[in-house]
Symmetry: C2
Subunit: 427 residues, 2 copies
Amino acid sequence: MTMQLAKGVRDVEPSQMIIKNKVLTIMRDVFELYGFLPLETPIIERYETLAAKGGAEEDSDCLKETFKFQDQGKRNLALRFELTTSLARYLSCNPNTKLPFKRYEMGEVFRDGPIKLGRYRELWQCDIDTVGTNSMLADAEIATMANAFFTQANLDVYFKINNRKLLDGILEQAGIKETKEAIISIDKLDKIFEKGVREELLTRGYTQKQCDGIFELIRDGISLSELKEKITSEKGKEGISELEELFTYLKAQGITNYKFDVSLARGQAYYTGTVMEAYLKNPAEKEPKGSLAGGGRYDDMVGKFIGGGRNVPAVGISFGLEPIMDVLTNRDEGTLKSTTKILVIPINTISDCLAITEQLRRQGIPSEIAMGKKGISKNLEYAASLNIPFVAIVGEDELKAKKIKLRNMISGSEELLTVAELIKELK
Amino acid sequence: MTMQLAKGVRDVEPSQMIIKNKVLTIMRDVFELYGFLPLETPIIERYETLAAKGGAEEDSDCLKETFKFQDQGKRNLALRFELTTSLARYLSCNPNTKLPFKRYEMGEVFRDGPIKLGRYRELWQCDIDTVGTNSMLADAEIATMANAFFTQANLDVYFKINNRKLLDGILEQAGIKETKEAIISIDKLDKIFEKGVREELLTRGYTQKQCDGIFELIRDGISLSELKEKITSEKGKEGISELEELFTYLKAQGITNYKFDVSLARGQAYYTGTVMEAYLKNPAEKEPKGSLAGGGRYDDMVGKFIGGGRNVPAVGISFGLEPIMDVLTNRDEGTLKSTTKILVIPINTISDCLAITEQLRRQGIPSEIAMGKKGISKNLEYAASLNIPFVAIVGEDELKAKKIKLRNMISGSEELLTVAELIKELK
């Protein structure tokens, strides 16, 4: 009874961790290639920080689902539910941070919410954000970097890109001033289609005419140039010009796997400009159809959070580690049970085998030595259970001849080799 | 007020994170070179698991200092305070795990305790353990691997090694049967010296004669061979023979930077055989004098935890990431503020600069492009603040001549180069 996992959390098994470490390493390398700095904020934050205005106010579900507790000094604490609030808190604590501040953070976030398939209470987020510039170069860099990550990870993706100012402009033209609620409905277009969104908008009190106005422009496949002709509001025009600038920059970097999608809204109310999402181009049956990464520009949130009337524009993207892992695990076919390349089995030759194994490791070859008094067959079983591709059997006769017997665990073939030959073979 | 960090936690700044990521990468690479598998257990465990017998019973301070809370379903949860309990829980949940199970785990642990200098409420632990074999090969491997990590990290260390069976044997010979309390006192020898330990032992009710018996053998610099002559108890003899076997294996792998230290006890009651600690050989004034890693054999704990009378021997070591970081940060002299190698500053040449910057990145050169409409001097300031070593200034004249102006930020010298020459220079 006591030996169970807590509800909604899980162990990441070695075979999955090998993949996860690869993904995180690629991310780190790519992020730093683009000059982003690593940051680590604590998992425990003051409850007041997470509940502060500008952070979670729009997103009351987050606060409802926040794990809260007290320390022995009765201070109110909480486990973070996202990394953006912590970024804003960090900038508030470090007001002299040089801007633009380009940082990435990867770590656990927590939600005390209902459990669904693939939805956990403790999950990893990988966030990259550029804070302190409103240049579209920053938006382009975020998309380019995300694309570089997916390329490195062998994931063929495309980006959907839109702009909240354009959406606001469209809604304004349709006679809607307070656009937040309408955008939350439009965000569901993928799931409940135009019919569902119209129903929701009518229920929220919008008119049939407003709905018609919205869907005249928010239309599948409508191009940026068509919209450019039809948009009259200043805000809408600004959104279009931002998108044009962004696309120019993407093209200059050779990025073409994106499409403009006027229906892309993204739920959170805090986005103010660019919004983007990355999708797998041809997901296999078992692979996620939803986005693998998503983000955008949020020019008001950090400033509101920090206070003092500071204007702190920002743009970022968040990678969904779980769906990315799902794809890669699906494609890996479960072969990665260990990174070990060879198991050395001593037969009354322990000290010599220790020296040989250590020699292999110094050549960068991941190696294990068999432990305990188990026979050869038990050790072969161990190697097979971890998909270790080679086994070296070292008896006294082999040692006298300065050889080891190398067994290929896949083909079953065996050959006698010197240690130098073995190293050459395994490298 | 709300924008502060919670008490006892902290942000790991980019300059420190760059070092931390290096350390964690070296660890991961070394651990996998020795065939250890990565595992990730959740930060949230059931409170009952952490409070379970065999885990924390001996270490009541841990439970007192555990952050406890409930989810919305009123389940009792807690933040883990170490990784070993989670390892035992994992093995209990996965009874078919192939043994020996060689795993490493790196992650945050939490303690709701008093704050001292360098002692945090949220800290990283890096643990490696081999579960399921009582072979001294496992103990030797743990020490060899730890040594390989320190070598890779350029930290010149030595190991103190002892054996709890030997300590128990010595105490038995001194007429002490229940050795736990005496060992906790002996563990303080470094801090309160023989005089202090004697006083504590007398207060605990041991006799003067027992103290004399203890300190006749637990003597600074006493050799294993001298002890071998003087030890009569079976348990003590077993400890000596384990140490001899361990030392043979270490020597076979070329490890000589260790010394036998009969006074090394390590506090926790759960150790049953080998105990070891790694220390910096010549710590500079600001560097930690305490151990950088410590561990040993604990043959009873996992079995007790799992229950069902299973005998599950185990040996492991835990790295102190904080003291290791302290040494490396001290030695780094604060130069690592960014991993970026070059900042490209466009002067009305944004699209070309984007293409150039992206070309550099494809060659693996970490590169940034200046954003916003700031002048050259502001951008040079930004590069200087992050210790970025090179800046490329790209104006229209340079572009026409197919050149860029490369400025060395350390020497201040400038030269005109083609992109191909630039790549060659930076690689």
